[in-house]
Symmetry: C2
């Protein structure tokens, strides 16, 4: 299906349906439209593409982001509250550099997006898990954890969370928890870093409002990304925060020295979006991934044995499956691979050793027919264990 | 000459020759050739451009960098000793994240490239200056400084240096000092971060060998960049280090999560370079900037009063002028602007308050005729002060 040279990160073994990869389907990527935008922007603004860019990002892209946020969330986004990033991983990396200090505590979801955790570790932050369930982050547990940390003289600096269509659980934080979280963070001076990468991939109507949109300015830094709504190779995203927080980022040494990050690509995508290409592409993604979500959800219902539980996600790429009591996903994996299907064991997303009884399935890479087959193989593997 | 919208960073006041900006001349940037490379790479490898890239960078670009290093420095560059960066500012930022800890001491040149200093500050490193003269960094003073720091119980972690065509002085570190520096750093476990951004802009034959090429592996991280040899808006460069050091970078959370940095642009420039477009473009830059260097050097000789001193640089963008004794460049600047010429006062490059008697002139933006005029205006301003 894909050649090995397509990307080192994506490698697919023959005969195995790899529901391991949380990546877009390369066949759906908007190659033509991005190429055309690149040609146009080089022709019309070539000198600007190749010169140092504005610290906050190119005006055309910033304007489009402002319009998109207003369209999605019904909020005016004043100038100075947005800075273009080189994707959410870069945004998180920069937030750690500029807003934390080695030894600070970072609160993380459990299970969490494991590769973001690696970024927090690189910044020598101490990690403290807070459980996630079907309703998202357990804010009551967070409150207890904060109290315990402060009693112990430690400095809880930030919370990293994906409240909307979380990776790996697919869960959405409930509205009441969102309100409670914002209140708690404001009261405790805890910085919320909201990774909002799956917002545009909502399959059952609009995604819930972001934490950022509901919080007083300064409480939440929201990381928005083109990785899932357009293409991951672009390495392009943005960050919303207060004027002061954004000024800290646009005024950092990295941007003072090098100008706007990922500038040439930001110019191309500014042109792509301003030219009206974003919405039609997003509709193609939503239609394809929504159908895959439906297909996998239904197929799991047909093929998984009693005792397996999962929740149909409203968006994103993932279904999180709890296995029958006592079953360990790490032991299931080699059996599943012999049956021709792979997944990510839940332990991968728990930095504290939990998650053995769960697994993550990504439905983004495969067609409905393939997902039907994958669910059947998974069911057989579970019965065979 | 340039429109205000070209870049926020580059803004030129009418009537003033702005020898302030250390930037390439936008009129010399290879717009057509980069656009053609973008078109080719999207046509032939569009899916790869838009998917997550390899952590170390695209193979075509890494291959070309290896060949270029061998061509320039006569050294085999084994696989695993190079990682693509989003430019030297990004490379330095990542080195700080992965190889330092808040409170470590960073040794910096005095005068130094001031915007890199801002990156070190963002990482909460403590700065210690080491003087630079016509022969580059004073390695004898560095040795004393290291001893004093260790006696005081502090941790000198890295030295940030531009040994070749330095910004702001234009100086090249003498060969004997390079050897002494490498020996000292190896003995003291001091990491040398060599910013090698001006290497390709050598006007009098090849640049001297890099510190990296002459040191045992692990002592020097060399930051190479396309900002000056191709275009700054690309935000593209690379880092050379030991296999272990490079593995720490390619294995960092940022790349584990997002794949190769600045991937789409790296694919375009891999195609640009592999297609043979790098050398002819570099020859255009060298011819233009070399002629500008000659013109400004000669014009300063004709127009500056006795008591001014400067050294003709072998490459890069800058001439560093020492003013007559007792003159302060900050006081000269408004007078010079009234005469229609601007520069950067030397104090800008000394984070410890020195440098009042010197100024930096950048010759990259202007034609020989304009530089002749600029030198004449500067001479008049100095005489008028």
């Amino acid at each position: 299906m894909f050649s090995a040279s397509l990307s080192t990160q994506l490698s697919l073994r023959p005969g195995i349906l790899e529901l391991y990869w949380g990546q877009p389907d390369p066949r759906l990527l908007p190659i033509e439209a991005v190429r055309e935008a690149a040609t146009r922007v080089f022709t019309q603004h070539g000198m600007e593409v190749l010169s140092y860019g504005k610290e906050a990002g190119p005006a055309a892209l910033l304007d489009w982001i402002r319009q998109r946020v207003q369209h999605n969330e019904g909020q005016e986004l004043p100038p100075g509250e947005t800075v273009v990033t080189a994707g959410n991983s870069d945004g998180l990396d920069q937030v750690c550099t500029l807003f934390t200090r080695a030894g600070d505590v970072a609160l993380v979801e459990s299970p969490a997006y494991h590769l973001a955790i690696a970024i927090l570790r690189d910044h020598q932050l101490e990690l403290e898990p807070v459980p996630v369930d079907e309703g998202g982050l357990r804010v009551d547990v967070l409150a207890e954890t904060l109290r315990a940390l402060k009693r112990a003289g430690r400095n809880p600096r930030l919370l990293y969370t994906i409240p909307t269509f979380q990776n790996p659980t697919g869960s959405c934080m409930a509205a009441s928890r969102r309100r409670a979280l914002i209140e708690l963070a404001a009261a405790e001076s805890l910085l919320i870093v909201e990774d909002d990468v799956y917002r545009e991939l909502a399959y059952d109507g609009p995604a819930p409002p972001s934490l950022w949109s509901e919080a007083p300015r300064g409480v939440v830094l929201r990381l928005g990304s083109f990785a899932k709504s357009l293409a991951p190779g672009l390495r392009l995203g943005w960050l919303n925060g207060s004027v002061e927080q954004v000024a800290r980022i646009t005024g950092c040494g990295l941007r003072a020295s090098g100008g706007g990050v990922n500038h040439a690509t930001a110019m191309v995508i500014g042109e792509f979006c301003a030219g009206g290409a974003f919405e039609p592409q997003l509709e193609r993604f939503r239609a394809a991934y929504g159908a895959r979500r439906d297909a996998l959800d239904a197929a799991l219902g047909r093929h998984l044995p009693d005792g397996c539980r999962w929740t149909r996600p409203g968006g994103g790429y993932f279904i999180w499956v709890a296995l029958p009591a006592g079953m360990d996903a790490r032991e299931l994996l080699p059996v599943a691979e012999r049956h021709g299907v792979a997944f990510t064991p839940g332990t991968r997303f728990h930095h504290d050793g939990g998650g053995a009884g769960a697994l993550r399935l990504a439905f983004s890479l495969y067609t409905p027919d393939e997902l039907e087959e994958a669910a059947q193989r998974l069911g057989s593997a579970i019965r065979a264990l």
